[in-house]
């Protein structure tokens, strides 16, 4: 249990980017707060009660006045947590796909000093849980990320990641929207800090599948990523 392992809780901040997640955000934040983590929810300009529900569940709130995208929201959350002394930073999806129980598994290698970057992978042990259509899309994302970042991973667009403070300090996401998931791997790879993949479970619900990435998003991700590379 995380509560028996203070090193896996003290100084661990959970960063959640949320947009129109009022229906589920309290269920996502509640178990994390109960486990003793500091939770910051970046409400990315939602028009619903996401911020109010997250605050009631115990999260700190950073609120974008206008919607800027998941990458922009994550960067704001990382910045906030770093300013408040975070030792280990965990990015966590707002749609209920992840479980609080996986956080210690990710934080473990960083707390032990064996890695600075721990990336959650749903394909190490739980590939069968992934719907077939989503599996194809994610395999393509893995291949794309491998080509552009030079890092061979089993999962690329998994929102569950843990970073040491020194790793998070070197992340400066320029891609505001979904392409940040490839960009963050690219930036982390360039730090040269030790990286591990950790098996985590992703729970697909009708809600999360409706809100998640779809094939139509792939072209936009590639375009955003390449334009960013070309314009440097």
């Amino acid at each position: 249990m995380a509560s028996n392992l203070p090193d896996l809780v003290d100084g661990v901040w959970i960063v959640i980017a949320a947009y129109h997640e009022g229906a589920v955000i309290a269920e996502v934040v509640g178990p994390l707060v109960a486990a003793g983590y500091r939770v910051v929810v970046v409400d990315d300009g939602s028009g619903d009660d996401t911020a109010a529900r997250a605050r009631q569940a115990g999260a700190l709130i950073v609120r974008h006045a206008v919607n800027r995208g998941q990458g922009a929201a994550l960067q704001s959350g990382l910045r906030y947590a770093l300013r408040h002394g975070a030792r280990i930073l965990v990015t966590f999806d707002a749609d209920g796909q992840h479980t609080a129980g996986d956080v210690p598994v990710l934080v473990g290698p960083i707390a032990a000093g064996t890695a600075d970057i721990a990336l959650g992978s749903r394909f190490l042990e739980h590939a069968a849980d992934v719907p077939a259509a989503r599996r194809v899309l994610l395999r393509l994302a893995v291949a794309f990320t491998g080509v552009v970042s030079g890092v061979r991973l089993t999962d690329a667009h998994n929102g569950l990641r843990a970073l040491s403070r020194r790793a998070a300090e070197q992340v400066e996401l320029q891609l505001d929207r979904m392409a940040h998931a490839s960009e963050i791997i690219d930036q982390l790879a360039r730090t040269g800090l030790p990286l591990v993949e950790v098996s985590v479970r992703v729970h697909y619900t009708k809600y999360s599948l409706e809100k998640g990435q779809r094939a139509g998003h792939a072209a936009r991700i590639v375009w955003d990523y390449l334009l960013n590379k070309l314009s440097r």
Partner: protein, 119 residues
């Protein structure tokens, strides 16, 4: 003088006059004003002496002056689209940075205020 020239020349002359005036009025934007002055001057010459585009086209290995204008317009459109994309991206980046700073400042203010005062 043809009807097209009668219609186009006053407009082109007016735009050229504005560009030349900007050359002296806004020295900080000298290159931009020079570009537009040159473009309007070239347009003026092409309308007054239509054969100049044909001569230029043949010098460049293109048969017709009209083809030269079409090719130039396509290239200018592609270059313009790319430059506008970069500009939009830069503006988007600036909006994000501004949004982030405001959000972080507001978060600090909320954290320091009593719960009853929070929105």
């Amino acid at each position: 003088m043809r009807l097209f020239q009668l219609l186009a020349l006053p407009l082109i002359a007016a735009m050229l006059a504005v560009s030349v005036r900007n050359l002296f009025k806004s020295p900080s934007r000298l290159m931009v004003s020079l570009f537009w002055s040159g473009l309007w001057l070239a347009t003026l010459v092409a309308v007054v002496y239509p054969d100049t585009t044909t001569r230029l086209a043949r010098a460049l290995g293109i048969y017709r002056g009209a083809d030269l204008l079409v090719y130039s317009a396509v290239l200018a459109f592609i270059a313009g689209f790319y430059l506008v994309s970069l500009r939009l991206r830069q503006m988007s980046r600036e909006i994000t940075l501004l949004t982030r700073e405001v959000a972080l400042l507001e978060a600090e203010r909320q954290k320091d205020s009593p719960p009853s005062a929070r929105a």
